[in-house]
Every structure is written in C-alpha cells, then in structure tokens.
Symmetry: C2
Subunit: 179 residues, 2 copies
Amino acid sequence: MFFSHVVDQTLKKIKSQTANLLTLTNMSLGGFAILAATQGQLNLSVVLIFVAALADRFDGMAARKLNIESELGKQLDSMSDVISFGVAPALLLYQGILHSFGFPGLFFTVFYMSCGAFRLARFNVTESNGYFTGLPITAAGCLATLAYLFNPLIPSHLYLFIMIALSFLMIASFKFKKM
Amino acid sequence: MFFSHVVDQTLKKIKSQTANLLTLTNMSLGGFAILAATQGQLNLSVVLIFVAALADRFDGMAARKLNIESELGKQLDSMSDVISFGVAPALLLYQGILHSFGFPGLFFTVFYMSCGAFRLARFNVTESNGYFTGLPITAAGCLATLAYLFNPLIPSHLYLFIMIALSFLMIASFKFKKM
C-alpha cells in the first residue's frame, strides 16, 4: 500500500516536471552553444542550437499533452529561449562573421539580443489568443543559424542586413496564426 | 494649444518609458560585456557588468519614484538580468579561469546560467511580499565578477566552488528582507 503510494507520487512528480526538465535541457544546450561559439567551435554551436530548437518544440508539446502547462513553465521557457535563440545565435554570427565589421557588427549583435528579449517580455504579458505577434525568437534564432550555414554562398555584409531584419521582425506588431 | 498638447504627450511618453529605457541600457551593457568576454577583453567585460548593475539599481528606483512600475517592465528587467548577471559573468569566469578545468568548468558555467534563469522564472511567478527568496541574480553576478578581480589571490580551483555555491544560493528557498 505504502509502496504503491510512493510510486504513484513519484510518477506524478515526474509527470509534472517533464516539461520543465525538457526546458532546462533546452536552456543547457543554449548555454553549451554559447561556450562552443566562444571557443571558436562554430559548427558544434550550430548543432547545439538546432537540438535546443527540437527540445523547445517537445517541451511545449509535452506540457500540452500531459496537461501540465504552468506559469512557472512559461517563464522558464522564455528564459531558456533568450539564452538558446537570443544570445547563442547572435554570438555564433558575431564570432563567425560580424566581428569583422567593427562597431556596426558589435552594435547589431547586441541589438538582436535586446529585440529578442523585448519580444519575450511582451509575449509574457500578453494573453494567449492563438496568434503570434511578431516573429517568434525561436524562428529568428533558427533562421540566423541556418543563414550562418550558407556562409560561403552569402556575401558577408548581407549578414548585417539579416540581423537587422530579424531584429525588427521580432519586435514588429504584425500577427499571424500559431501552427 | 496644439503645441503644448504635443509636448505634454511626449513628456508623458518619455516618463512612462524612462524605466524601460534604463532596463534596455542595462541589457545592452550585458550584451556588450558578453562580446567583450568573447573577444578576451575581460577587464572591459568586468566594467560593463558593474555599470549594468548600477543601471539595474537605477531602473527599479526610477520606476518606483515615477510611479510607472508595469508588468512589461518587470518582465523586461528579468530578461535583462539573465543576460547581464547570468550569461555575462558566467562567460567572464569561463574565459578567464574555468575553461582550464575542461568538462567540469564547462558544466558548472552552464549550471550557473540555468540556476540564474530558474531563479528569475520563479521570481516572476511569485507575488512580491518584501522578501527575496534565494540570492538575487544581480548579487550573484556582481559577486562572481568581484571574485574574478581577486584572480591573482584566489587559487583557480576555488572558482569552481564559488560558481557552484552561487548557483545553489540562487535556487535555494531561504528568504531575507529586501533593502
């Protein structure tokens, strides 16, 4: 009796924490992606950002499926997004390409991070109504990382334009339906 | 008449955005601190983190004094804190000292970032009652940065311990009165 109660409680706890554990995984992947970019291991950083995007996709799905969506989970998710899709891709592009532009490269890297953070802050205080306002930071981060992969094909100065465009798209007020 | 109305509206707008502008300044300083650490300019990174801490102190004060505290402001503040006092000091210590420890250095740098993000997420869903729960990330970030300054005096392996201690202090559940 006691044993089945303990098992039951443990299973409940695991279930309620599954989404948050996935979010923490996503966050850690973002942290490792930042350190990889710092150490010049840019391809590893790319892989880590994409895996973080997969984890991000799964934690939302898990939370909805297990019916364990929580306010703490939402906040944790935003924190993890600013690390994995705000700071990490910005640092990847700065280390890989933008550092060669001097101050403009520096400025627009920080501008991208700030716009991403603003986008998330606004998202957190907006009631969910089935619509996104502005480009989600996950999409912006993945697009920036994807753009980095086409590095040999895209002229360097275009990356400045890509960073500026993604930054403005995140803070823009256009709406589109969530998928 | 029209002119005075426009001036009045503009002043109101400036007033309502003062705190958020200070928060964005804090966030940008954190972003620049990250890029400085990445480029090996560690002393510049230290200065930027401390100036961000000053900006962080002022934006809260400005919001309270001007009576313009808002939910968006609170969220923006947390986003800025995770960048300036979560990622930036962690990267500073990793670049300056912890990278020489291999995987443990890597792991506890990411652990510090994740604990800081968790601390902020928990703070955002907790009603303010005049008490802090766990060490605030601003204090942890400043202590880590201060510890870096004593680099020649403190044995390197102690920094691993400092990172672990600060991480656990942030997610701990002890309470103490806000100053």
